[in-house]
Symmetry: C2
Subunit: 726 residues, 2 copies
């Protein structure tokens, strides 16, 4: 019987679970290693089938009304002869009485190593594949890995490697290594089932036993159905609809990000608060296009002609900004529909994010207007758009310079802060900023899709609290990441965090494990703060690809060298010990007193006599185990040499010369500075400026640099494993 | 047979392991739940003993030459009748042949839950107690907790709670909760064995089975001996010697930290480098006592009379500072011995820390001189002493102000940096600084013992890479911590870090798990950077004791609220949801537009209208679930109100009024500031200054504050569990 027939038969009988035999039959169709079994209805047949299978055997009674088989004496294990088969058959028949229909005979699978595998459906991400440690400890230890389906064989392999108990899958106490190929096939099979059969809600394979010879057997299995889902998937149809929507969305967002004309609904007659409001912010930042204030009662806002409504405007605008109190937003949107304006940013708040009844009702109301009017809406409850190249900004105090970095942020505050951190701390400027709040019609995936094809954008930062369609989000970031690194900060990863999210933008936050799976399988860079986002972005932007995990650290101060080693170990970077021949070469020009030549190389002299620095970098970069460099500068000390002049000289030397010596291997600079002297701080500022302008990532403290480098390493390691890279 | 007799008998026979029966006999003496067993030599006896024990039973053959019992058929399990006992007895006798001596009979213990417990001896910390998950997964999962012996019942309980698999010890799949009392007694028994018998090197109880009824049974046990250790401990003698040494050491360190006279051996005739050298550093910081330069070839150093040697000095000095190249240190020390000068700081390096043969030899040489001459030595390879109140400093650019914080640091660089971080970032000044490097005679515990009784010191920070005597270190910090919080940064916690330590100060770094145990059981605050050390110190110094884990956050910006919730969850703090009645009271004066009243309370208005801030704090602090406050200030926004004047007003308000409203509950302030305007930065600096001077801990970024508060909470939670606090 085909899988779909098994499912249909079950649903027709109003059963929402397949029985053990049906479940196994379905799994077998997908090449899962279900235990071999035979249905037997007489003792002679049982003996001949049993002898063919090989001893020892297990026999169970079958019957549609039979449950609690073990307790009823309907399960006989460890049968090791024909006589025992006959005896078991008779005993089971007797015990089952009239309910008996047949017996099932199967080899008795033994193995110390028990795992579980399965499939479940997440409300945000859809089908999710699970693999983990089984046995009685399974629940208590929770050693389980997830991936969002469909998965690739590489992703299946990653799931296996992620388990703490993965050692059990190797050579274990004299038992053979688990058959990895079979294991990957099992997980791939579950993934395929998830795609083929939306009606299958859950699959549970427990236990999945690893035998002494390493072979896998799904000894028991359960399949649960969902009678509200279609039995077969209609993926093709959806894909076509998605494609059409995508083209439309890209065009709309492009228009809003490059507007020739903007109308603002909701402009105060005079500015009374610290925040200038949308209209004045756009004007003050120097928007060069046509800017229309809309006001019901005045025809003049600070010298500009005001209009009573969109309908009264001389043209349809590229972007409407709505900044009236929440309860007036429906009317403003109706004005948009009436005037044929489709592209709208709603700044106003007081909707779903309030968590209050009236806010939720209001959001439902505007959603209805938006859908019926086919409006493209950024927001509500968001800061909107910032495109420096077009002198477009809907807030204040953002840099005017344009750069390679884009951010898509569900939080307006985070969008603003991130722009300032990236620019002011790291000299990294923005191409486009989208703050989209409650995501009424345009969601993070829409902005990402737009940015994927935006030539000015090379790296994309994303702050999300939730997404509407997890699988689409995963697909989008997976597709973009190889070309343009995607860095994601997810608010509400923890349970308590998630509660705050729900109250903040009304988004549904997914479970932490599933989100982690999403980041791991897409290969995007997952960070945990805005600062780390900027720190990683600047490294991904400036540094060449990494090709290994070995770090060489040059710097000063013993204690900090120890800390560096600890930092590297924590994120999985290596500080390779330098072999004797290299130490000898370094000793030729580095004296022993006060200089510790290990890795970290704690040698003040190399930072003081710059003619020694280049050759040192050159020597190390020629070694295959050195894959990147950290220069750790203790500015309190360095300043002592010619009162900061040397610091500056060193910075220029690095910008102008380091690349000649590093053999294409990344180099970053770290500073520490603890003394309070203003002259020292000024000198530090100068160092940072020179390096930033010279394109050398520079960090405050070793931990930050090590963490950013680890992210870069992980990015390129993932890229190398992608199918098209072999 | 008494334990000591069992051990002696074994050692006399040149055996280094007790057999199973001996091991169990010894453990039984310490009330460990070893399986009940009887030695039987005839079948009738076996039957009567067996019937008394109750079925099912296990029988094994005994014989001094019998090994591989299972393979030889000498183990019979699941005996359930007298007949089966007789049969087993006969079979075993037959199988063992002439080697048979007796049979051992024991109840067959069954239980799904297998654990392991044991005792081992760490090279640094001495006896260590272990408890963890057993069974076939034990190795692969490594779910194991350690504590350094002797342990208290509370520490034993902590070990149990630390396991990931602790759920197995509760009600588990219908089996009863494990007998916790028995479990604690088992661990306490192991601890007592460790103390009583230095000759016992290792104890391994595997498996320790938890039966269905929750009872514990040590089914198998192994005891390994060390024939180089004394059979019985001589703890009393050691304690007396320690006490005498302690009094002597306190006196010596006191003299060095409060010197009336200092001699410096090794003074450059003229200053040629950026670093002024020991003599000029001491002089330049304004040391008010008698300061003697020692120089072999000149009698005048910049106007001060120089002496050719210590012997030529008019007095014995309180402190000799040696700052000559390593190879000249032995001669300088001999000069100390000859002149009767006992208190010495050796700044010079090039000893054990170099990892080179000559350096190690040199350290051995000076150690011999020091021990024979009964010298008290700080160093070598260290920065020495800083006591602001005595205007004593052996480096430069340290604050002149004195404060409640002391640091003991194995790294000179870290000592200097920490002083600057604490003073410049947090306004926390130092009472005493000891940088002690290679710890030739004075080790971290000596300085800690001195600081414990130093009235000026209220909080102690420690940077260590290794210690000579782990148990002594543990005892010292455990004793001091309740009176003066001890904060420890351990370099070389990770494996790679440990390698660098070995090369840095030649200290032996202990395994990470054992160090973690040391911090957990002493209750000291373990941090992972100098910055975190200062952040925690300022919180422990200024804040009142905490009494719970609930945090109320007041601040601005939705996205950051989500991040705060994530931060709290990560360190185990709680963000309690506010109940309806509290929300209602807040809503009376906080309008809904733009203000999100949850926890975090994202309400700009409360920070703007200060008359609302006090009552808000008062309302929240009256709730038992609010145990501390974080005020999160986004200075980019706040600055907009009267160009920074309001920021300053807020800071003064907090300093002068916050304590009136917080009901004795801790409050800290967090700032964020990302825009680049210099005026804004100036305003931020002013805010931080006012708060620092007002004794309100202030942090850059929420994560830092949350982490510091978590450390404070853990400190007071531990204090409440100490025996003298009930």
């Amino acid at each position: 019987m085909k899988p779909i027939e098994l499912i249909d038969r079950c649903l027709q009988k109003n059963r929402l679970t397949l029985d053990e035999a049906e479940s196994k039959q379905l799994l077998k169709h997908y090449h899962l290693p279900v235990v071999n079994e035979s249905i037997v209805t007489d003792a002679d047949d049982a003996v001949s089938q049993g002898e063919a299978m090989g001893f020892p055997l297990v026999m169970k009674g079958l019957g549609s009304t039979l449950t609690h088989k073990t307790e009823l004496g309907l399960v006989k294990i460890n049968l090791s002869s024909s006589t025992e088969i006959r005896q078991a058959f008779a005993d089971i028949q007797a015990a089952a009485g009239n309910a008996w229909e047949a017996c099932v005979l199967q080899p008795m699978i033994s193995g110390k190593r028990e795992f579980v595998a399965g499939l479940t459906r997440d409300p945000i991400f859809g089908p999710v594949i699970m693999f983990g440690l089984g046995g009685i400890f399974a629940e208590a230890l929770g050693d389980v890995a997830f991936r969002i389906a469909p998965i690739t064989p590489y992703q299946a392999q990653q799931m296996i490697e992620e388990l703490t108990s993965r050692k059990l899958l190797g050579n274990f106490r004299g038992e053979a290594e688990a058959n990895k190929k079979q294991l990957i096939e099992t997980l791939m099979g579950l993934s395929q089932i998830a795609l083929d059969h939306p009606a299958i809600k859950e699959v549970d394979i427990n236990p999945l036993i690893i035998s002494e010879d390493g072979s896998l057997t799904a000894v028991d299995a359960l399949i649960v159905l969902d009678d509200t889902a279609p039995a077969l998937s209609n993926a093709t149809l959806n894909a076509q609809a998605d494609q059409m929507r995508t083209e439309h969305i890209i065009k709309a967002i492009h228009t809003m990000a490059n507007p020739r004309s903007i109308a603002v609904i909701g402009v105060a007659r005079t500015q009374t608060r610290a925040f200038a409001g949308m209209y004045r912010c756009i004007r003050n930042f120097g928007f060069p296009g046509r800017l229309y204030p809309i006001h019901p009662k005045t025809d003049n806002i600070e010298g500009a002609k005001a209009y009573p409504s969109l309908t009264a405007l001389p043209e349809k605008v590229d972007l409407v900004v709505i900044s009236v109190p929440g309860p007036h937003v429906p009317a403003a949107l109706r004005d948009c529909v009436a005037s044929g304006n489709k592209n709208i940013h709603i700044f106003s708040s007081g909707f779903k994010e309030s968590g209050e009844k009236e806010g939720i009702r209001l959001q439902d109301e505007i959603e209805k207007i938006a859908i019926e009017g086919q409006l493209n809406i950024i927001g509500p409850n968001c800061m909107g758009i910032h495109v420096p190249a077009n002198r477009l900004l809907t807030w204040s105090a953002a840099p005017e310079k344009s750069g390679p970095l884009a951010i898509v942020s569900q939080s307006g505050g985070n969008a603003q802060d991130f722009v300032n951190i990236a620019a002011n701390e790291f000299g990294l400027y923005l191409s486009k900023v989208f703050s989209y709040g409650n995501a009424l019609t345009l969601d993070s995936t829409d902005f990402l899709t737009y940015l994927a094809q935006d030539d000015l954008t090379k790296i994309i930062a994303v702050y999300i609290e939730g997404v509407k369609n997890g699988r689409k989000f995963l697909d989008t970031i997976s597709r973009i990441n190889p070309q343009k690194p995607v860095i994601v900060l997810k608010g509400g990863m923890t349970e308590s965090g998630a509660r705050t999210v729900a109250s903040h933008t009304g988004a549904l936050a997914g479970a932490e494990k599933i989100w982690q799976a999403c980041f791991k399988q897409s290969g995007v860079t997952h960070v945990s703060s805005l600062e780390e986002m900027a720190e990683t972005a600047v490294a991904l932007h400036h540094l060449p690809p990494t090709n290994g995990r070995g770090v060489a650290i040059l710097g000063t101060g013993g204690g900090i060298g120890v800390a560096a080693a600890d930092s590297c170990a924590r994120v999985g970077l290596e500080l390779p010990a330098l072999p004797a021949d290299i130490l000898e070469k370094l000793r030729e020009y580095i004296p022993p007193a006060g200089n510790m030549i290990r890795n970290p190389i704690d040698a003040h002299i190399v930072l003081v006599l710059l003619k020694l620095l280049g050759p040192t970098l050159e020597l190390l970069s020629a070694q295959p185990y050195v894959n990147m460099f950290i220069l750790s500068l203790h500015l309190d000390w360095l300043y002592g040499i010619e009162r900061g002049k040397h610091t500056e000289r060193l910075a220029h030397y690095l910008v102008n010369n380091a690349h000649k010596y590093t053999n294409g291997k990344p180099l970053v600079v770290v500073w520490r500075q603890y003394q309070s002297s203003p002259a020292l701080k000024e000198s530090r500022k100068r160092l940072v400026e020179i390096l930033k302008e010279g394109g050398i990532p520079v960090y405050n403290g070793l931990d930050r640099a090590v963490s950013a480098l680890a992210k870069v390493v992980e990015y390129y390691e993932f890229q190398r494993h992608l199918p098209n890279n072999g």
